[in-house]
Symmetry: C2
Subunit: 655 residues, 2 copies
Amino acid sequence: MTQPEKMLANAIRVLSMDAVQAANSGHPGMPMGMADVATVLFSDYLKYDPAHPHWADRDRFVLSAGHGSMLIYALLHLTGYARPTIEDIRNFRQLHSPCAGHPENFELAGVETTTGPLGQGFATAVGMAIAERHLNATFGDDLVDHRTWVIAGDGCLMEGINHEAVGLAGHLGMGRLNVLWDDNRITIDGAVSMSSSEDIPARYRASGWHVAECDGHDFADIRRAMDEALADPRPSLIACRTIIGYGAPNKQGSHAVHGAPLGGDEITAARQELGWSAAPFEIPSEIKDQWLALGRRSQDTRAQWEQRLAAHAQRGEFERRMAGTLDAATPTKAFIADLLASPQKVATRKASEMALGPLTAALPEMLGGSADLTGSNNTKTAATKPLSKDDYSGRYVYYGIREFGMAAAMNGMALHGGVVPYGGTFLVFSDYCRNAIRMSALQRARVVYVLTHDSIGLGEDGPTHQPIEHIMSMRMIPNLDVLRPCDVVETAECWQLALENAEGPSVLALTRQNLPQLRDSADENRSAKGAYRLHAAEANRRVVIVATGSEVEIAIAVAKQLDAQGIGTDVVSMPSWSRFAAQPASYRDDILPHDVLRVSIEAGTTFGWEAITGISGLRFGIDSFGASAPIEALYDHFGLTAEKIAPQIVAALNG
Amino acid sequence: MTQPEKMLANAIRVLSMDAVQAANSGHPGMPMGMADVATVLFSDYLKYDPAHPHWADRDRFVLSAGHGSMLIYALLHLTGYARPTIEDIRNFRQLHSPCAGHPENFELAGVETTTGPLGQGFATAVGMAIAERHLNATFGDDLVDHRTWVIAGDGCLMEGINHEAVGLAGHLGMGRLNVLWDDNRITIDGAVSMSSSEDIPARYRASGWHVAECDGHDFADIRRAMDEALADPRPSLIACRTIIGYGAPNKQGSHAVHGAPLGGDEITAARQELGWSAAPFEIPSEIKDQWLALGRRSQDTRAQWEQRLAAHAQRGEFERRMAGTLDAATPTKAFIADLLASPQKVATRKASEMALGPLTAALPEMLGGSADLTGSNNTKTAATKPLSKDDYSGRYVYYGIREFGMAAAMNGMALHGGVVPYGGTFLVFSDYCRNAIRMSALQRARVVYVLTHDSIGLGEDGPTHQPIEHIMSMRMIPNLDVLRPCDVVETAECWQLALENAEGPSVLALTRQNLPQLRDSADENRSAKGAYRLHAAEANRRVVIVATGSEVEIAIAVAKQLDAQGIGTDVVSMPSWSRFAAQPASYRDDILPHDVLRVSIEAGTTFGWEAITGISGLRFGIDSFGASAPIEALYDHFGLTAEKIAPQIVAALNG
């Protein structure tokens, strides 16, 4: 007998409240409130196949309100994904359960992106939608023709990043993006009206969105609103008027159900209210069977797609792109060979542009952009024409002044697959998108951040624009490769490393100012080891100077002064701390021997450099905010010149 | 003879283009485009007295589009502020000139806030406007009755933080906030239409704002729009349709004039276009005199205000509040004395709430809030009733899910003066407002960040919510005091230190989980030195363990195990790295002697701890992302238990 739809939704509600109760922590309110909407989505609208969760043309579903994680765990389980099992759900929020407190993309197929930090799921979905349209423009309807669906709460809509995401999606006309807004009028502190008076639909319309509204507990009305959204060419916000914690008779509608277990008595009352007699974690078979059948809904669609793929002329390229495999013949080696023949003195941001020329020409998956600093970040190449509402085949996004939105969108592109996103802003404004960079790292997303103007070397713009702590503070984000090349050759090497790093993001910290080419050989990618001896002491080695980026030039000048005084000095260029740390001890000890004075030079905080120099080494850097002045004046003012550094090293040796 | 208003504005234009040309860097486009609007503002609307730039009841003017810094430098000079002199302007963007690339509040009176990072000036102004209404409600119209004016560009409006600032100002009905939007339809990358399709007025109206529009080069029309704004009770956006670089005949209206000198030829052409024959940095005396007269416009208003203040019953308290002087009799000592009599095992977030109780009761200048985590951050006290549109005398702001907007607003409150703002979110979401925290530090603003859930100790919410790198990465922001107390006594001490730190912001990193009270004496504020010996080795000291916050309890347990084995072990609690670093070497060497094994324990990255332990010390922490599980399972999983740590110390001693 076909079960009433409400009972399908109640399965989500009961699993959610029981799992939160068993864990004694979690958020029952959202899954119970949005269960009806989610049931409609997974029954009739979402294109997915639990048996093939990585199907390239599946719809992407993003639970932006990630605290309601039990909603997606219940759905994945009920519709027949291999995981989570009911045992996984019993272990909700326990160590090693894939059912973590917030949904994590690396734990479960079907979780397209890690969510929890509010607003980012939504903004990530915008990137997925962009990737879809771009790949559709590249490979056609036969291979790429899917939608992106989001469930978002008031928090996702109130965060600043929402403005950026909405603006970007509206501008680019992302009509295949549909956001189901859990309009329950409750936040953690209480009623939304305590902190906001916004007319949200009006704001969305002002940014080029379509807005539909529905009763989130009326199945027919939900379908009406979804159909309206599908029919409209604009991105759609579907305001689903819901009751948070729906089904918990004494607590629903209040912030008390948001983030705490309902408690035994209320769960008993809710079971009665919902007409649910089964024991915790037991789903009556007639309900489970009906859910499983719904999970098989798109099997035929997928089979037909597989047939189209098998016969498609672009099959090989499409599969390569979706697998994220780089074409082996990247042009970096040839590019570097040219440099060795004809050295270049350029800013590393310019070197990056030079490297990007052949790279973007050779790798069609590269999709660039900048947060309104295209000419400063040097991120645009001849191969990357603009991606616009009128031409999704473009490969360059003018993201606007939206750093956080750009970074989250790039995460979405990388997670969608088929593209390798890179995007630029000033290094100091990595602060504006820092949590999205962290989310790239946590999600193991191949995103390349092109962060230029990477020190006081930017000069006159002054302390608001001069990064001091930024490079070092990013080095401590797990799984983030922070690359700071010292010249045009290293820049090309670092680009190659960033592209090959398929399991995580990379930062390229690049200068505004020109730097001489210091490298005259490139038999291998020397940056790959993170640090290497660029200049060897002529004799009698007593000092090793470690430097990065623009300060390597200074280190070389210091070394020459010291060598001239008979103080043998190595210079080590260290473009990547994390790569160097991963080398065997024998290599590290060779590069950083213990019987010398170790010195660091980096135009940023000296904080943390003790790890490289030892406590007794010398560390040259800047431990205050910067200043506004021409570059030469600043380097002198902050003591970062060979003339000021060399005597201090001599004094330390004699001291 | 009275000069045409256009000539007053042209003085701004010419100074701007000449200073940028002399510096060979800077942004002429905005000051030239907005010169007419700014002339009207400083001639007829803004309440200010250059001879008394710190007059408490002056209007606050914020140049949110800080790259156009020459606009404010020109205005301050022309209207008769002591600085900048014409010589300062000649030295625009040179070392030690107060005319830095972006306007800095600590360089010039009249620059109310440091701007440059887009969107933040606007959001900071919202905080100034809140402070004004709050102080008006406290002290009345006779003492506090001023407006906040902002000049903002498209970048300020496109940034995510704008959504938060607009939402907050609209919700709180900040009718005395007026934003002059430089609607020039140009961004750095080109036309605004390349990256945005937003109907900005519609968005502002949707958030409870009034919107006026004017031709930004028609003086009468500008006045009409400003009068309309003054008449409307809502906060106002005044869309000023302008031509970027107005007056540069061949370049105006294009992004080419945004951020580069015009060049000699174009400057010559502009001089002709503007009817300006004076040499660079020379202002014809009739124009200078007229500007100086305008600068004296509010002298009488100020004199009358001084008379009202002199006669006012609340004069002493008002002056104390505006000077930022704490009442000497803060209740912290009595509070701690009670704790010593009756020890408490509570989370430090709860300890913070307990300390805040008497502090907020005693210090009316404290103005609290949270970004929708009031119950989790424990930031609300009995003394702080809500501040709302209907009651500005309240002392607690429900900021909503707006971390960045909250932090910037707190900067504005602190810079306005008269209030000491504090606000809460989760530590991990310091990422969302990181650049505003940096701006607190750069601006030397007394803002207290209450950042709870400060480690894996938050448990089940998992890696998206568990800070790993955050504490350490904030320690390297100059002029930011990061405080991580270990128990209820240290929490009270740290609150006292944060409040006494009038020249900079403080972070309180606080636990979700309960911690035992470890302190049994408090003859002085021991946290003030940053680190101190909490537990002394019984005898035969061989080990010193340094820990912070929740890990001090673990360190004590390790020490007891080691002491029992005859391995004398000190435990040092280190609530503040920066305060410890500022102690004399004799103190530091006493606390961290060189003849022992030094060990650190902190439930975050081990990155940077070499500075404390030396290279040969041991560092216990977490160098990966966290996980979702109950707290005990997590501490065990990550090896942060006495049972797992003590044997490793023994092994190191024997090794």
